[in-house]
């Protein structure tokens, strides 16, 4: 047991040792709350980014997973934390934009309770189908949906997830309907899609790109503004004739409202330089993420647009995930 302790100390020591040289903030380790389980997109964004940030901040950054209630549990705790720059949050489109649009009562208000720092990364969603599904492109899908209303199953990673709302947006923009089949996370939804138990789905590009390459899933369109370099043959939604379905999943960094200006400046600078470093960029590109690293002003403007947009989708589609 003693040897084991030393061993594990040594292994972990690598993670937490970092040079300490900065004056003023930060004087102690910074905690980054990820309101989702380890291994997910928010978690990966946080870990990749903070690893680099430690170098410029000169203090270790501890990633703490506080999963629960679609991310609102952890976000609520951060909203109440001290605004001293020692508690940050890395959350998803769900935490910042969809939860506020969907839930009547949330333990936080992203616009009022947070100092928005930056949108770190984004990844387009893709519309994929089981290879045996009759429609081979968006046009055929829309025709098929019109002929078979409320028949085609749309798998999603959960009620009120970004892929659920993307499907709802798609129905609203094309005047079609389908059956929403929620799963507990993206992985089981993709599994059933490959197995042919569900028909189509909007998924994050990174999560399905390998299945598309292997021919296990059929790519109908990307919900991005431009075609994706990995799949240059797949049209964008706009090219396929559907306007207004540009949807990205994004991950952003924020802190409790009221950060001292110098702390905020230091954090912004550290975030931007970390996100734009070739090493971090490369790592994100490998997993299908695109680095955004915008300013806090751009973030807050973008957030307003997103919340308005998803509120409309939720109201039009009469979507509820609340009691």
């Amino acid at each position: 047991m003693k040897a084991l302790k030393l061993l594990s100390l040594a292994v972990l020591g690598m993670a937490i040792s970092a040079p300490a040289f900065a004056a003023g903030y930060p004087e102690k380790p910074v905690t980054v709350v990820v309101p989702f389980p380890a291994g997910g997109a928010s978690d990966m964004t946080a870990r990749v980014t903070t690893q680099k940030m430690q170098e410029s901040l000169g203090q270790p950054i501890v990633v703490e997973n506080k999963p629960g209630a679609n991310g609102s549990l952890g976000a609520g705790q951060v909203a109440k934390a001290k605004a001293d720059g020692y508690t940050l949050i890395v959350g998803s489109i769900g935490v910042y934009a969809i939860n506020p649009a969907l839930y009547k009562s949330l333990p936080y208000d992203p616009a009022k309770d947070f100092d928005l720092l930056t949108v770190a990364v984004r990844t387009p969603n893709v519309l994929v189908a089981n290879p045996n599904f009759p429609a081979n492109n968006v046009k055929e899908l829309v025709e098929h949906l019109k002929k078979n209303p409320d028949k085609v199953t749309f798998a999603s990673s959960g009620a009120g997830s970004s892929d659920h709302l993307t499907a709802a947006l798609f129905w609203q923009k094309t005047g079609t309907t389908g059956v929403h089949v929620p799963y507990k996370g993206g992985a089981p939804a993709i599994t059933d899609l490959i197995g042919g138990h569900a028909d189509v789905s909007f998924q994050n590009l990174g999560a399905v790109s390998n299945h598309i390459k292997a021919g296990k899933l059929k790519l109908l369109a990307v919900t991005a503004e431009k075609r994706n370099p990995t799949f240059p043959d797949a049209p964008t939604m706009k090219e396929a004739g559907v306007e207004g379905v540009e949807v990205y999943s994004w991950q952003a960094v924020a802190a409790p409202k009221g950060l001292p200006a110098d702390v905020k400046g230091k954090l912004e600078q550290s975030l931007t330089s970390a996100l734009n470093s070739p090493e971090v960029k490369g790592k994100f590109n490998d997993i299908g993420f695109e680095v955004v690293a915008n300013t806090s002003g751009q973030f807050s403007e973008f957030l307003n647009q997103e919340i308005t947009r998803w509120k409309t989708v939720v109201e039009t589609g009469k979507i509820t995930a609340d009691q």
Partner: protein, 501 residues
């Protein structure tokens, strides 16, 4: 021939000094974490994830895999020694393993678990090497309808877990199903029975319930009888299994391995069922089912083999399809992605060194586990001979910290206290907690799959019978239910019930 050259490639990879070292570190850490109640492989792997970024991908995965199956192994040790199942799979091991320990046969129970696990791990590794791709396709045949029927079969089987009253077995299963409802409903997003606490919006963690009901309940129960009986037998009979034991455990190990390997392939919760299914099978084929729950060696050998085989084959959907079958596998996929490897069907062809190296390392890791743990048995047995009034506060400490570390929330610690209270009440009323735990695990999945099936079939319930795999399992469930309810069996149970008293 190709398999052989692939295995050779795997051996070359796994046997390099550093990979052996990482395998060893992983297995050691895993065992230690498994032994500490509450602290599971998911939390550990999550915490170690950043460390692995600095390692080459093969070494990283070898170490993480080692933590996973090492923890499975270590978990059984705690289940046997102090009746604390930290993993859903070790609930069953605790049933007979702990009884063996109380009779002074802790060493034999631990050795049985080690040997069974090693055998199962070996067979499962070979399966993984030879049949991975076709087996993965089989897993895809399982849709919501099939999973629902599998869960039904699992629930019926859980009745067999109880050795007391049949009525209470049913009652506790339903109670477990209701507890499983707590949290957010997957289909509608509605939160149920959360009393406004966001901490349980995602449901109550299994470990919280198990630690409370088994761990705290057991401690309170033991203290209540402190003056009248000793908790552990003073005389320890043999650390190693006798020739008779070996003979007795051979068939259960074999059956458990086969059953566990098959269930492990199913990503939708199959591996979780492996140990339960094996226990049910052993009790059903046994000529003396009344010995189960009172220290039957088959009740340790079968489930332990099934559990390890299932843990091993649950890598198949992850490696061949990129589909995680449990939270640990999801983390492994996260680790692969961070290393720039896209998990999926192409891993086997594009990353043969990683694929085969990992598979061979799992066998080596199992060998490490056996070699490490057999000598440790003596130490463990000595540890539980520490007077109980020194031992139990330490157990409580590990439970409390372990449960806290699940979500880094004190809320879970309070919940565990409540379940400890309930656990003692159940014990006083002869309501066995094992079937409740199975109901708790299976309930949410069963509801989710049922509702999803009905959604996809547009309300047509005949799909359960028109799909062959699903129909077969429902028929099996019916047969099992019939044998359970048969009056002759019931009489036997009542007799056993009287004896138990």
């Amino acid at each position: 021939m190709e398999t052989l050259s692939n295995l050779w490639l795997g051996l070359e990879t796994a046997l390099t000094f550093w990979n052996l070292a990482y395998c060893m570190v992983g297995v050691l850490l895993g065992t230690a974490i498994g032994v500490l109640p509450g602290l599971g492989p998911t939390a550990t792997i999550a915490m170690l994830l950043p460390v692995t970024f600095g390692l080459p991908p093969v070494s990283a995965l070898i170490m993480l895999a080692g933590i996973y199956y090492g923890a499975q192994y270590g978990g059984s040790t705690t289940a046997i020694l102090v009746n604390l199942p930290g993993e859903s799979s070790s609930v069953v091991t605790a049933l007979d393993g702990y009884q063996m320990a109380r009779q002074g046969k802790a060493g034999r129970a631990l050795a049985t678990a080690a040997i069974g696990s090693f055998f199962a791990g070996t067979v499962a590794t070979v399966l993984l090497a030879v049949f991975a791709p076709p087996l993965a396709d089989l897993a895809l045949q399982f849709g919501p309808a099939e999973y629902f029927s599998l869960m039904v079969l699992g629930l019926v089987a859980s009745v067999v877990l109880a050795h007391g009253s049949l009525l209470h077995a049913f009652g506790m299963i339903i109670l477990g199903l209701i507890l499983g409802l707590i949290g957010t409903d997957v289909n509608s997003g509605t939160t149920r029975y959360t009393f406004g606490f966001p901490e349980i919006a995602d449901g109550i963690n299994f470990v919280v319930v198990a630690m409370g009901v088994f761990g705290l309940g057991e401690i309170i129960g033991n203290l209540a009888n402190e003056s009248t009986r000793t908790v552990m037998a003073k005389t320890v009979t043999g650390l190693m299994p006798t020739k008779d034991d070996l003979k007795q455990m051979a068939a259960p190990v074999l059956r458990g391995t086969v059953l566990g390997s098959m269930l492990g392939i199913l990503p939708g919760g199959g591996a979780m069922l492996a140990s339960f299914a094996a226990y049910t099978l052993e009790k059903k084929v046994s000529k003396h089912p009344e010995r189960f729950g009172k220290g039957a060696i088959e009740g340790v050998a079968g489930p332990e083999s099934a559990n390890n085989a299932g843990a091993q084959t649950s890598f198949i959907p992850m490696l061949t399809l990129g589909i995680p079958s449990n939270p640990v596998m999801a983390l492994m996929i996260g680790a692969m992605i961070m290393q720039g490897i896209q998990p999926g069907p192409s891993v086997m062809t594009e990353q043969p060194v990683l694929f085969w190296g990992l598979i061979v390392s799992m066998w080596i890791g199992n060998l490490f586990l056996l070699v490490l743990n057999l000598p440790l048995i003596g130490l463990w047995v000595r540890m539980i001979s520490v007077p109980y009034h020194f031992l139990y506060p330490a157990i409580l400490v590990f439970c409390a910290i372990g449960v806290f570390s699940l979500n880094n929330a004190t809320f879970d610690v309070y919940l565990m206290a409540i379940f400890g209270f309930l656990g003692y009440i159940f014990r006083k009323l002869d309501c066995e907690p094992a079937p409740m735990l199975l109901g708790f695990i299976l309930g949410p999945m069963m509801e989710e799959h049922l509702r999803r099936t009905m959604l996809i079939s547009k309300g047509d319930a005949t799909v359960f019978l028109s799909r062959p795999i699903s129909a077969t399992m429902l028929v099996l469930a019916l047969i099992l239910l019939a044998t359970v309810l048969a009056p002759a069996v019931r009489q036997k149970r009542e007799e056993a019930f009287q004896e138990e008293a």
